[in-house]
Structure formats: C-alpha cells, structure tokens
Amino acid sequence: MALFSVDELAVSFGRGASRVRVVDGVSFAVDRGETLGIVGESGCGKTVTVMSAIRLLPAPPSHIDSGRMSLGEVDLRSLPRQSLRDIWGNRIGVVFQDPMTSLNPTYTVGFQLREALRLHRKVNAAEAHAEVLRMLDRVGINAPERRLAQYPHELSGGLRQRVLIAMALICRPELLIADEPTTALDVTLQAQILDLLRSLRDELGMGIVLITHDLGVVAEFCDRVAVMYAGRIVESAAVKALFESPRHPYTDGLLASIPRLATVKGSRLPVIDGMVPAPGERPAGCAFAQRCPRAEARCREAQPLLAGSPEHRFACFNPV
C-alpha cells in the first residue's frame, strides 16, 4: 500500500455562479522513501492540490468536490478535524511556500520548535530542549544553542529555511510536503538544502512530495514527477523517462524552451506561444489546445484523459 495516495481529487473556490473549479481529477501516490515532484506554472494548482489532499487548505473558501485521500490506512477525506490535528505536524510534516505561515514572528525559534514537539510527544522540558538541539544540529545549523533565543526575522534566508525544515521534521513524520522549499534561495544554498532533504529522507525513510516550478530541481532530486497544467496532471512518469521522452506537448515544449548550459549562445529558444488560461476561462476540451502545436479538432471538443502505461501516463490525443 502506498504511503500517501490521492485519487480523483477535485477542488473549487467560491459559491453559486462564481464557483470555479481550480483542481480537477488529480491522482498520485507516494511510497515510503520516495520523492514525487509536482511541477507546473504559477497558478496551475500545485499548492491547492497538495494542501487540499491533506485537508490543510481552509474550507471554505475552498471546497473538495470529490476525491479519496489516504495516509497509509487512514482515510483523510472523512477524518474529523480533531484527528487531523493529531496527524499534521506529526505523521505529516509541512514546509510551506510562505515561511511566515509556520513561523510566528513574536516567539523565539526555540520556543516554537519545543511547542511543535510537545503538541504530539509526551516529553518534559529538558527532553524537548535536547530533541530541538538535536534536530537543529541535524539540519546543519551551527551553534544551535545560540539560535534558540533568536526570532525568525533575525535569521538569514538560509538559516530560516533550515529552521522551517527542522520544524516540519521535529516529530519525524512519515510524509513530508515541501512547497517550493528552495525557491527563495540562491543556487548554492538550494544545493545545500536539497542535499539535506535527501539525507533526511534516507535516514527517516519518509516519502516526500516536493512542489516546484524548477525542472532542474526535479531532475536532481525526485524519483517521479507529475506535470500539472491548468488544474490537472497532464503527464506523470519516472524522472528519467519524462526528461528523455516527454509525451505531452506541454512537457515537451517546456523542456525545449529552458536555456541550459549547453544551449548555443544567442540561438533562438523554442517558445510556447500564448499564456496559461485563468481557472474561470479554461476551454471545454484540452486546456492546452490554444497553445499546442499538435492540436487537432477533437482536442477542442473533448477532455483528454490520462492514458499510457502505469509508469508513464499522459493526457493527450496526439502525444509526441
């Protein structure tokens, strides 16, 4: 059984006539020790998908229209709030896209980490203190004693990100959700943080869902990847397969358009024309049809469903 699985999730916002479906028919699964990357452009639904799946997205305004989500044997969809609180921060650790979601500017780093631990573990003050120091040390923070008394705004970007990871991992979760954990960081810090996550994943045997818009990060860090476009997964595969033989025209275009170190200077970059349709303005058929060089008449009429082999799925009538 997969550690974390999501099946046919659909999420909308708003009520009545202004109700808009932003995530539709999304399915994926993550095993223990495995890293799944979710990539896609801004607004395609990455955060909504994953946060809804663990029921952490406030509802209302969001609404889960359909879907089954489970963590091991636990059915997350039907779980009452009280039981969810026992899972969040405990069995599921979360690194939020906005660091200030999880760090309170008015409390010290040490206090917040101790409280995060004591919420779920019966430990006395001394044990909590020791465990917090161990975790700060584990995420590569030098002189952790000194950091305990500091406030979040007193930390550099790299240190703050390490503290966020320590916070998400303090209860040694089975599943880590990391939403753009390195986007605000420089490449050298990004490399440090990804190395850290990799070794913690191997040590704790956790499954990781990593949300990013950076295909380079996916290639370096993930085992499998799901590409989202306009609220749906349009392609999913093992990382190697996806990068070597992308089947969906969007994935194909995206991979072709990024400049790489090997790109010849000044040569024209392939482009994907047009822009992503807003959630309320998605066309009836394939959402990529207006921008797709391979579009056919039927693409504008029907919605292509995910097909292919279980290892490599893509939603396209005329795949590459």
């Binding site: 452009e41 801004s42 550099s156 970007g157 790299g158 240190l159 420089d186 490449v187 050298t188 810090l189 990004q190 490399a191 440090q192 990804l194 190395d195 818009h213 950076d214 295909l215 380079g216 990060v217 996916v218 290639a219 370096e220 860090f221 990382v239 190697k240 990068f243 275009g253 995206l254 991979l255 358009s257 990024i258 400049p259 790489r260 170190l261 790109t263 200077k265 000044g266 024209r268 970059l269 392939p270 482009v271 994907i272 024309d273 822009m275 992503v276």
Partner: protein, 326 residues
Amino acid sequence: MGAAALPMSVHLLDVQGLSKTFPLKGGRSIRAVDGVSFRQAKGETIGIVGESGCGKSTLGRLILRLIEPTAGDVRFLGKDITLLPADAMRAMRRHMQMIFQDPYASLDPRMRVGDLIEEPLVIHAIGTRADRGREVARLLDTVGLPTEAARRYPHEFSGGQRQRICIARALALRPELIVADEPVSALDVSIQSQVLNLLMDLKRERGLTYLFISHNLAVVKYVSDTLAVMYLGRIVEMGSTDSVYADPKHPYTQALLAAIPEPDPDRARDRVPLQGELPSPEHPPTGCPFHPRCPQAMDRCRREVPLPLERGTKERSHTVACHLYD
C-alpha cells in the same frame, strides 16, 4: 582589463574603482559595491552573476547613476557621468535605461499602456503628439504586442506581456545601454524564452548593449558575451562567457557552476555543495572575502586581499582575483 591600448571610443562604458557604502543606523555601514572596474564595448552583453545581496542591483543602479557612488567613476561615451550636473545627467539618461525584475511593480496601474510607453518621450519633449503616437505603435509592434494594447491597462496583461511593455518603455528613447536587472526571474518558465528571444532580437537589430543581471547561470550563459562573477561587492572573476564556463578559475565560480540544477537526470549528482552562506556585507571577512567558505583557503587568504589579475590570452581576457593564481 588588459585592453588599455584600445582607443577610448571602442568602449561604451568604462567603470573604474566604483564603490558604494550605505550608511546604516548607529554609525554602521554596508559596503555593497567595492572597487569594481571593467569596460564594456558597444554591442557587448555583460552578464553579472552572484548570490543574493552581493551587490548586483546596486552596481546596475550606480552605473545609471540612480544612486551616487561613494568612490570611483563611470565613463559613458567617454564622459564621466558621476560629475555631470543634474540637467546634463537627465539628458544623458536618454541613452541608458533599466529593466527591472518585477514587471508588476514597475508599471503604474492607473496609466494606459500607450501613455506608459509615451511617457519618457513626453518627459524629454521628443516629437509632436502625432509622432509620439506613431512611435508607440511601432514600439508595441517591436515587442510583439498588438496596437490596441495601447488603450488597455497593465493589469489586463500577463507577466510576460507586462515585461514586454516595460521593454517597449525602456526602448522609447532609443538608448545605447540597457541594464536588465533579473528581467525574466519573475516570469513563468514557458514565458521566459519569449522575453529572452525578444531581448536577443533587439540586440541584433539595434546593436543594443546589455548589462544583464541574473542569478540564473544558464540564462546568463545564453545571453552574455562576457561574464562577471560578483562576491561581496567585488568582481572575483571576469572573462569571455565561454572561457569562464569552460574553465572557471575562482573557487567560488567553480562552486556556483557546480550547484546549478540542470534539467538532465543523467548529469552527475555527486557534487559537493558549497558550505555556509554569504557573510553579511556589514562585517566582511578580512583578506579574501571568500576565505571562510573556500575549500582551498590558505594562510595568506585570511590576511591579503587578492587583486584581479589577467590570466587569459591576448585575444580573450580572463581575470581572476584569487591567490591560487598569483
């Protein structure tokens, strides 16, 4: 940079010993840019890379004299612009424009796109109203937007389209030099290549000279003829883009290149990441600014500041500031 024999006119821009110290509260200060020198030929694109806070934007703003330098000078077309009085500087600014990272913040949301693009022409009292209208239409066409875009407002456009509007506005005065500060960083991946292609087309068609600031090393490699790597306010390595990427000399440049995540799962994953973070420019390390993080630091690195030395060939300049090479 080994080019002292070239006649002055070859260089559009000549920056010497440029420094900027920002005063902080309590008598403290930050040296954001520290003795930067380089020359730029007309039509040459120089890419500037380095970690957040190393002084890239400050350098760009100093060159356009949007802020005043603490020391050093900037010669543009042979004239030291740091000495120009305000009105002469305003006239000079026609020739030097900036494109910013955030296309959302740099456009006044209450102005129509046409008026935004026309504004620089109005400020410099160029042409009649009708002339300016025609010029706006031409500029929109140049950046690949329809003429009717002129009547609409910035919020009706996507990020990539807004960056095109910013580019049209920057081009209105037909500048020689454009400082592009992270021009594609805020854009979605599928839009970035549209804007990069546009910038490269404009370079070819108009002979534009770019100072291209970015933390994305693959993007910089794609656009630049020459690369300058900054660390804590200084240029630690500079040379033709090809030679710096093929043969990075400074340990910091080597670490930076090794850390780039490439969209290629077969690329060796066994790099050793650089440890530590950029030290605060308020308390820069003694000696070589990179020594606390440098895997090859020696005793003298803690004491002596390495100076940039020419280590390239006659044809291709390649300077590096590191004791391993002196």
